[in-house]
Structure formats: structure tokens, C-alpha cells
């Protein structure tokens, strides 16, 4: 059951009716039961893993309350090892075995039995990070542990966010989940509006571009370098429409219950650098890695030693950057690996890391160059140029997740660099798209871009809410009509969301 399916909306409607019909103090129980019914409907065989996470998190967080600091650290370490161990085995066992056997083949050693396989349960990468973040916060006394195991179960598995996030923080989310909520027209209308907006992006843009992108990367040998480059650009737009569309649907669904989930996007395509882009894209994941991986790594003994080495052999100012560079290298490797157990995703993560580290390293040089050419950071033209450059970098890096293997992504990069476009015509720019399809796509992108521009001034929903009733109705009807008339409803539309596979 994906969140853009009819089944999901029927399920959501039933849950909303029951939620507002039961006694307010029982509302959280309703959400808890609905969440696990949702999970069962998506794959009952994997329910055991979410139970392991819930039970171990509950025991460890409560145990930490009554012990010394040293013991607390041991309990947390045990919990992290167990849960990340489960994640590692379920998600990365096949990948690790494949690589071990490849090395064994090279050195003529005995190959390991690879007949055993595991299926990673839906959403494990998301709920593991959310639960472990909560445990670390309890360890740091940033929040108190929840005494009711069923409430912990709801926090771990709240159904709108369980499969693809956003990765919530206990202090922001838990109180909302457990509180009673009265039915409010504003929450209901804002929630529905947001769901419609998510469906608009998903059906009109993402699902229309998805077969085009898949075709370009699958048959990359049949296209020249202009189409390959455009394939990367189209994939960037497709993924954004897909992932942010999903977020709009789940945030909208939660809003109907009076629950505000953390935002995952802040108009990322207006970023002027790759580092800024990552602060505005998949914010809850970047925030998790920053708080629970980057900071501990950057103050670790290894990072401090690395910093001292930098200060001794280079200069004090360069040496200061070394701990951050050390931590960033590991964080970007982990980010790549988190997305998928494959070398092409690791390469994608490493490439992101190299660009961000290089920009930190070369910042003094950039500053001198800007002074030389009298370029001011406040200059609008310069800022726009930086925004376009960042979008192109993000797009070009899509060559790694876009291709189906590391070898293919490297071939595509080589072709994009060394070849020149053979012919520029409609088919090389818009392969697989007829004129009417292109018109629908452009319509969707223009509306999406317009909303994103306006969003920088104020939330569009606030603007719509200020309008008179007939105008608001027209907006709703316009969105529904656009989805029904211009949306893609086929096998691709019910095929789920890109980020669910992570």
C-alpha cells in the first residue's frame, strides 16, 4: 500500500473517522493500531524487526535512567550495535558477501556460501535512525524516556512517516502523537490541500518523467551526450517532485490528525552551494547525520590528532579545517551507503563529499578571486550564477544513481565529457515525450516553480486561506481537475516512490 494509492486514502479516511470518534485520551491508541495495521498490509513477514527496534529502544532508554554515566554509555553502545547490526545484516549482507567473494576470486581463496538472502523490511533505514536518535537524546538527557511501550511503538511506527520519513525528533513529535486533538476545519483543509499538492507533483511531473529517465539510462548507448546530460537534469526534477510529493502527502495526512511533521525541504534548488543544498534537501536525514555522526566524529581523538597534524604541517587556519574534513569524509561515505548497498551510491556520496570538502579548502582562493574581479556576494547576478551552477552539479551527480551499475555510470560520464552532440532535435531533447505529454509536463513544472518562488515570500497555503470562499473552491477544483486530466495513472503511478527503496 503506497501513499498515492486509493487503498491508502480509504485507510486514511477510516482512521480519521475513528480517530475523531473515540475519546480524546484514546486517540493515540487509535493511531498506534492503525500504524501497525498499515505495516501489516505492507508486509507482515518483516514485522519482527520493527518490534525488535521498539522493545530494545524501550528497555534501553528506561534502563539508562537509573544507572551511572559509565553504565549509560555501555547501554547506549549495546543498543546502537544491535540495531545498526540488524540494519547492516538485512540491508548490506548481500553487498558485503558479493565483495568478499569477488576478492576471494581474485586471490584464489575459498568463496563464502551466498545462497542465504535477506529482505530488508520497509522503512528500516528510517525508523532505525529515528529510534536511535531518540535513544541518544535520552542518553544526553535532552528528553525523558517514555514509560509506556505502546507509546514508544507509535513513535517508532507512526504510519504516514514510517516508510520514507521525515525522520522525526522525539521532543518535537512525541507530545503531538500522544496529545488529544479536536477536529479542526483548518487542519483538515490544510491537510487535504497538501495531499492534493503532493499528488499534483507526483502524477503530473514525477510519474511522467520517470519512464523518460529510465529509458535514457537503460538505453544510454542509443543517445548522444546532450540527451545523457538532459537525462541527469530530468532525473533531478523527477526525484524532487517524487520525494517532495511524498512528503506533502504524508505531512498532509498527519496534519488532518493535528500533527505537524518535520519539513524535509526548503526550496533546495535556490541553493548557492552544494553544502547549502544539502542543508535544504532531505533536511531530517542531513540533520540526523550532522548531530549524531558528524559532530561526534569531528571531536573524536582521531579528528583532533588529524587537526594537530594539519596545524603542524600546513598552517593553523588550514589545520582547523582538518577535523571537519575528516568527519565529512566518513559522513559522505555513510550517506552514499545509507541510500543503497552499491558502489555507485558510495561513489555518489564520495563525489558529493569531495566537492564540499574542496569548496571549504579552496574558500580562501575563491575570496581572493572575487576581490580581484570585484565580485560582491550581495550581487544578484552572481548569486543566480551560483544557483545555476549548484543545480548543474546536483544534476550531473545523478549519473551515479541513474545508471544501473558503476561501470555504466563511468561510461556515461566519459561520453558526456568526450563526445559532442550529433544532432539537436526534438527527439534528442525530449525522448519518449509526445507534444501533448510535454505540454502537461511544462504546465506542471511552471506551476511547481511558481509556487516555489512564492514560497520564499510566504507559505502559499496562507495566501490561499486569505482568499474568499469561491476562490478557494476554484483552487481545490483546479488542482483536482489538473491531477485527473494531466496526471499519469498507469503502472508507474502505483509503482511507489523512489525513496521507499532506501
Amino acid at each position: 500500500m503506497t501513499v498515492n494509492s486509493i487503498t491508502f486514502f480509504v485507510f486514511l479516511l477510516c482512521t480519521v473517522i475513528i480517530y475523531y470518534s473515540v475519546k480524546p485520551k484514546h486517540q493515540w491508541i487509535c493511531l498506534c493500531i492503525a500504524s501497525y495495521i498499515f505495516y501489516i498490509l505492507t508486509g507482515v513477514s518483516t514485522l519482527v524487526y520493527i518490534f525488535i527496534t521498539t522493545i530494545t529502544t524501550y528497555i534501553a532508554t528506561n534502563w539508562m535512567q537509573s544507572v551511572t554515566k559509565k553504565r549509560k554509555r555501555k547501554i547506549l553502545t549495546g543498543l546502537l550495535l544491535l540495531n545498526f547490526g540488524v540494519l547492516l545484516v538485512l540491508k548490506y549482507y548481500g553487498f558485503m558477501l558479493f565483495n568478499i567473494n569477488r576478492i576471494a576470486g581474485i586471490v584464489n581463496s575459498v568463496r563464502l556460501d551466498d545462497s542465504l538472502t535477506f529482505v530488508a523490511p520497509l522503512g528500516i533505514s528510517y525508523y532505525t535512525l529515528q529510534s536511535m536518535g531518540y535513544a541518544i537524546d535520552v542518553y544526553k538527557s535532552k528528553c525523558k524516556p517514555e514509560r509506556n511501550i505502546f507509546k514508544v511503538a507509535l513513535f517508532v511506527g507512526f504510519f504516514p512517516q514510517m516508510t520514507q520519513g521525515p525522520i522525526g525528533r522525539f521532543k518535537d513529535l512525541a507530545s503531538q502523537l500522544y496529545a488529544s486533538h479536536k477536529f479542526e476545519y483548518r487542519n483538515f483543509s490544510f491537510g487535504c490541500q497538501r495531499i492534493l499538492w503532493g499528488l499534483f507533483k507526483k502524477t503530473i511531473i514525477a510519474d511522467r518523467l520517470s519512464p523518460v529517465v529510465r529509458n535514457i539510462f537503460t538505453h544510454y548507448g542509443s543517445y548522444d551526450n546532450l540527451t545523457l546530460f538532459l537525462g541527469c537534469v530530468y532525473m533531478t526534477i523527477q526525484i524532487y517532485a517524487d520525494f517532495s510529493g511524498y512528503m506533502d502527502i504524508v505531512c498532509g495526512a498527519a496534519e488532518i490528525f493535528g500533527i505537524k511533521l518535520a519539513e524535509n525541504f526548503k526550496t533546495p534548488f535556490f541553493s548557492s552551494s552544494l553544502a547549502e543544498y544539502w542543508r535544504r534537501w532531505h533536511i531530517t536525514l542531513s540533520g540526523w547525520f550532522r548531530d549524531y555522526l558528524f559532530y561526534p566524529l569531528s571531536i573524536s581523538k582521531a579528528a583532533v590528532k588529524f587537526g594537530k597534524f594539519g596545524k603542524k604541517h600546513f598552517s593553523v587556519s588550514i589545520g582547523k579545517m582538518f577535523p571537519a574534513i575528516f568527519a565529512l569524509s566518513i559522513v559522505w561515505f555513510a550517506t552514499g551507503l545509507w541510500h543503497d548497498a552499491s558502489w555507485r551510491y558510495i561513489l555518489w556520496g564520495v563525489a558529493n563529499g569531495i566537492i564540499i570538502i574542496s569548496s571549504i579548502w579552496l574558500e580562501p582562493l575563491f575570496k581572493k578571486t572575487k576581490l580581484l574581479f570585484h565580485i560582491k556576494d550581495s550581487c544578484k547576478g552572481w548569486h543566480r550564477l551560483q544557483v545555476v551552477r549548484t543545480f548543474l552539479i546536483v544534476s550531473l551527480l545523478k549519473v551515479f544513481p541513474g545508471a544501473s551499475s558503476t561501470k555504466e555510470s563511468l561510461i556515461i560520464i566519459k561520453r558526456m565529457i568526450t563526445e559532442f552532440p550529433v544532432s539537436i532535435n526534438y527527439k534528442s531533447i525530449f525522448p519518449q515525450l509526445c507534444h501533448s505529454e510535454l505540454c502537461y509536463l511544462v504546465f506542471g513544472i511552471v506551476i511547481f516553480a511558481g509556487v516555489s518562488f512564492y514560497q520564499r515570500k510566504e507559505p502559499v497555503r496562507e495566501y490561499i486561506a486569505r482568499q474568499v470562499f469561491p476562490v478557494r473552491v476554484m483552487v481545490y477544483l483546479g488542482m483536482i481537475a489538473s491531477i485527473l486530466l494531466f496526471g499519469v495513472f498507469g503502472t508507474d503511478a502505483v509503482g511507489g516512490f523512489e525513496y521507499a527503496q532506501y
Partner: protein, 76 residues
């Protein structure tokens, strides 16, 4: 406190650290600033910040940072 203000003003000259109370939560100090700041605090005040100390409560204002430094110094 004076030494801390020198470090902060060197790090981000455009920020008024005497009045700002939302440095970390408000995103005024980014993660790179934080790593650089932690290194400077460790070196200047001869303390050793741990993961437990990296918290918005300790870094949202210059005053909060100074309280943390004094606490760490007293703990030895």
C-alpha cells in the same frame, strides 16, 4: 568572556554575539563553524568538549558557551 568574544567575532564578524540567543537553533552557526569553534574553545581554555556538550542549550548564545566553559574548567 573577552577571549571567547574574540574567537566568536573572528569566526563570524557579521553576527552580534552580545545579543544573539539563537545561534545554533537559528542556523546562524553552521556545522563547520561549530567544529572550528569547538577546536578553538578546547585550545584556548584548555578544556575538552565531548559529544554530550554539543547541545543547543550550550551553544545558542555567547553567555551559554561561557557558562559551559566555566563548568568544564571547574570539573577539571
Amino acid at each position: 568572556m573577552k577571549e571567547l568574544m574574540v574567537i566568536l567575532n573572528e569566526l563570524r564578524p557579521e553576527v552580534d554575539f552580545s545579543t544573539e540567543t539563537n545561534l545554533l537553533d537559528g542556523g546562524i552557526l553552521d556545522s563547520f563553524d561549530m567544529v572550528s569553534l569547538i577546536g578553538d574553545i578546547n585550545d584556548t581554555f584548555e578544556v575538552e568538549l565531548t559529544f554530550d556538550d554539543i547541545d543547543a542549550d550550550n551553544f545558542n548564545s555567547a553567555e551559554a558557551m561561557w557558562s559551559m566553559i566555566e563548568r568544564l574548567k571547574s570539573e577539571g
